[in-house]
């Protein structure tokens, strides 16, 4: 196997691992916050349903965390196994946030263990809530640090190259790169948003499948409210991300928008098919791209034709961009309608069709996360370290990457199926009605 094949299989394996990992990682970042909020609301309102919601979420969370941890370990090692030349170079500059991420992970792991096994140990639920704060902080902090590493790959800085040697290395400058603020913020809020919609989707599903318990209704409303807040934040930060791209990575924005000619007052291309350089069947929103890029409808946006051909990312990322944005807009709209309707006590809120739409929201949010990452990562091809190292220069020279790809694909299949089976069984065998009854028998319903 020559180097081109090793590069190809390394890319496929990395993409596979990351695509699988981010499903669990996103839940891993978002759900602790949801558990914390549920428990807090429960304590504040003295409402056992929210406490139970926190407890049931925590139980399911263990399964997703387990898969998240092991796939995270996999990608952590694969970075060095598949991209040794890249890690050797980048390690000199970006090791600090990578190292800090393991501390955040450590912190989270310790307190998650304590939290999970002390449910009935403290008389006071507030003490137990305190344990969740480091879990939620650790989960979000590890997302922050690892996203900083990724941001560095998009906008490397904090070092100089002199005759192939790295000099003047400044670890903090490397961390505070221009891609960092928008990336970190976007990753965090979309993780919270996705978790909220996934949990709303589960509650809606239970309501549809016969259970008419007030517990699910409370859960659904809480999650839709949180979903709304984070969907608004996502839209705002998405807009900042567009401005970042226009400024620092114009080729990614141009490729995502199929924007070929540099022009003023550039239109935003929605949907469509590309035939050579002809865009067919597309909606064009006049001036929208200029507004997205620079907040000014008449500003100039750099087009793809102005970049060297071997530095232009694949043009199929346009579909991912469209998919991501449309799902985001749809979820924002859905949560506005739901929350507004609920507050105004409109009848359609409890109608079946609306609940089915909410059920779809969860998987769609996860899909948007995947689309967004594919867009971000494919959009910086052909670079692994934008402007410094091409992907083909960073890969391993080992001859066994294809075999490893098969092995890992098998592993992820087992983990994916296993986690779904276990989660389903866990909640099916112990429905909320049953658990409430058990707890009443045990404690006389006193939760505070």
């Amino acid at each position: 196997m020559g180097n081109t094949e090793a590069v190809f299989f390394s890319r496929v394996l990395t993409e596979l691992t990351l695509s699988f990992h981010i499903i669990y990682a996103t839940i891993g970042v978002g759900v602790p916050l949801m558990i914390m909020i549920a428990q807090w609301v429960g304590i504040k309102k003295n409402d056992e349903h929210y406490i139970l919601l926190a407890r049931r979420l925590a139980r399911g969370f263990v399964i997703t965390v387990a898969v998240g941890v092991v796939t995270g370990t996999a990608i952590g090692l694969q970075l060095s196994l598949l991209w040794p030349n890249f890690m050797q170079l980048a390690g000199n500059v970006i090791a600090l946030p990578l190292f800090m991420e393991t501390f955040a992970f450590f912190f989270e792991a310790i307190f998650l263990g304590i939290y999970l096994y002390t449910w009935d140990r403290f008389e006071n639920q507030k003490k137990h809530l305190l344990l969740l704060i480091p879990v939620a902080i650790g989960a979000s902090a590890s997302a922050v640090f690892i996203t900083i590493v990724n941001a560095f790959m998009n906008a490397p800085q904090g070092f100089d190259v002199l005759d192939g040697e790295l000099i003047n290395i400044q670890p903090l400058v490397a961390m505070m790169n221009p891609a960092m603020p928008t990336k970190v913020a976007h990753v965090l809020v979309t993780a919270y948003m996705t978790s909220a919609f996934v949990l709303a989707s589960i509650a809606a599903f239970r309501l549809l499948k016969g259970s008419n318990h007030i517990y699910h209704k409370k859960s659904l409303f809480l999650m839709m409210k949180l979903g709304l807040v984070f969907a608004i934040a996502t839209a705002l930060i998405g807009d900042f991300s567009g401005k970042y791209l226009a400024e620092y990575q114009p080729e990614k924005l141009a490729a995502a928008e199929w924007h070929f000619e540099t022009q003023e007052g550039a239109p935003l291309v929605l949907l469509g098919v590309l035939d050579g350089k002809e865009i067919k069947y597309a909606f064009k929103v006049p001036y929208a791209l200029s507004i997205l890029a620079h907040d000014n409808p008449f500003s100039e946006v750099k087009g793809l034709n102005d970049f060297p051909e071997d530095e232009v990312p694949p043009l199929y990322i346009h579909y991912m961009f469209d998919g991501m944005v449309m799902i985001g807009m749809f979820l924002l709209f859905l949560s506005i309608v739901y929350v507004f309707g609920k507050v105004k006590k409109f009848k359609f809120i409890s109608s079946k069709w609306l609940l089915w739409v909410v059920v779809m929201g969860g998987p769609l949010a996860v899909l948007a996360i995947e689309l967004g990452w594919w867009l971000a990562e494919v959009g910086r091809q052909p670079w692994i370290l934008r402007g410094f190292m091409r992907t083909s220069e960073g890969a391993t020279t080992s001859e066994h990457v294809d075999l490893m790809l098969v092995l890992f694909a098998g592993l992820y299949l087992v983990l994916g199926v296993g986690s779904i089976v276990v989660l389903r069984r866990m909640f099916r065998n112990n429905p909320v009605e049953q658990e409430l009854e058990d707890r009443h028998a045990e404690k006389g319903g006193d939760f505070s």
């Binding site: 407890r55 263990v62 399964i63 965390v65 387990a66 941890v69 092991v70 370990t73 996999a74 952590g76 090692l77 694969q78 060095s80 196994l81 598949l82 991209w83 040794p84 030349n85 890690m87 050797q88 170079l89 390690g91 000199n92 090791a95 600090l96 990578l98 190292f99 393991t102 501390f103 992970f105 450590f106 792991a109 310790i110 998650l112 263990g113 304590i114 999970l116 096994y117 002390t118 449910w119 009935d120 140990r121 290395i169 400044q170 670890p171 903090l172 391993t396 020279t397 066994h400 990457v401 490893m404 092995l407 890992f408 592993l411 983990l415 296993g418 986690s419 089976v421 276990v422 866990m426």
Partner: protein
């Protein structure tokens, strides 16, 4: 003390931490599966589950910490070890993944599934074997440079007695450490049946441990003379380690002072592990990569060390809390509190 030495010492301490807590974990999985096979599961399962439940995730972090730290302090290791270790490290990851996830699946999903338990137990023995390959490779002789790229000689590696001695040593050490630890833990839990069973395992696994450890020193004389000579220079460290080993076996045999026996065991492995590490100096991969060639730039090294100290300030109290609530909590250890999720 130079920054290089600080860096490698930090990493070596974490690797040692992983060695001890992962051994307890891997061994416990094996003994659990074995007791299932021999119909003694009722004796061990409770003790093992109670210990493993709150710490399984923490165990994994020690490993992540070690390899991320290695890349941070010694980025060149990514080039040498990254390229050569693709296959063995990938296999270790897959086994770790099966193990970690099945532990959660089995505990929360379907308690008592036999297939899971066997996979869990077996994976625990293959992981130390696949990870210990790194130690063998670091002795040199298996990696050659072809067109400026490191290439691993798999055939040479798998036919070398040194490889297999290290594999056997790692497995024996895992089972021995785990058995001594669980003897102590079961004794603390007041579970006399589990204590005597684990005590028996501890004594059984002491023998292969001793034989392979001595064997490796002899084999190194042929394989890497330089390393062998440096190990002889530190003979007294290995000597004290051997005395501690005898002490542990003595107390376990006499059924007394299990706490002291456990401390002696940790001391024994700490001394041997650090003596081995020091005698390996200055090579990370003999003879291609030394501590000094592979080291990161000084700015990054200082940043990493500051991050490390700050991180420890956070970790040590948290770890202490974890130990106090579970390992050193009498009611929890004795199963009087089943604080399940």
């Amino acid at each position: 003390m130079t920054l290089e030495i600080v860096g490698i010492s930090v990493l070596w301490i974490f690797l040692f931490g992983y060695l001890i807590i992962a051994s307890v974990d891997f061994g416990a999985g094996f003994f659990n599966a074995y007791s299932l096979l021999t119909g003694r599961q009722h004796i061990l399962t409770n003790v093992i589950q109670r210990y493993l439940s709150p710490v399984w995730e923490v165990t994994n972090v020690f490993l992540v910490f070690f390899f991320v730290g290695t890349i941070g302090f010694f980025p060149k290791t990514a080039f040498f070890y990254g390229t050569t270790l693709l296959v063995p490290a990938s296999i270790a990851i897959i086994l770790l993944a099966i193990r970690g996830s099945y532990y959660a699946f089995e505990t929360y999903g379907s308690r008592g599934h036999k297939g899971y338990s066997f996979m869990y137990g077996l994976a625990g023995l293959f992981i130390p074997a696949s990870l210990s390959i790194v130690l063998t490779i670091s002795e040199g002789g298996f990696v050659s440079m072809i067109d400026g790229q490191p290439v691993l000689d798999y055939w040479g590696l798998f036919t070398n007695p040194l490889t297999w001695s290290i594999v056997v040593l790692s497995v024996a050490a895992v089972l021995y450490i785990s058995a001594v630890f669980l003897t102590w833990y079961a004794d603390k839990a007041g579970d006399s049946k589990a204590t005597s069973l684990m005590r028996k395992y501890a004594l059984i696994w002491a023998l292969p441990l001793m034989i392979t450890a001595t064997g490796i020193i002899v084999e190194l004389r042929d394989h890497n003379v330089e390393h062998y000579n440096r190990m002889i220079d530190f003979w007294w460290l290995f000597g004290i380690s051997a005395l501690m080993f005898i002490g542990t076996v003595w107390f376990v045999w006499k059924r007394e002072k299990y706490g002291l026996a456990l401390s002696l065991l940790i001391g024994q492995f700490a001394l041997a592990f650090f003596a081995y590490g020091i005698s390996h100096y200055p090579y990370l991969l003999y003879p291609h990569l030394t501590l000094y060639d592979g080291f990161t730039n000084p700015t990054m090294a200082i940043a990493l060390i500051i991050a490390f100290i700050a991180g420890l300030g956070l970790l040590i109290p948290s770890l202490y809390l974890l130990l106090r609530l579970f390992l050193f909590n009498k009611d929890y250890v004795r199963g009087k509190r089943d604080n399940h999720v």
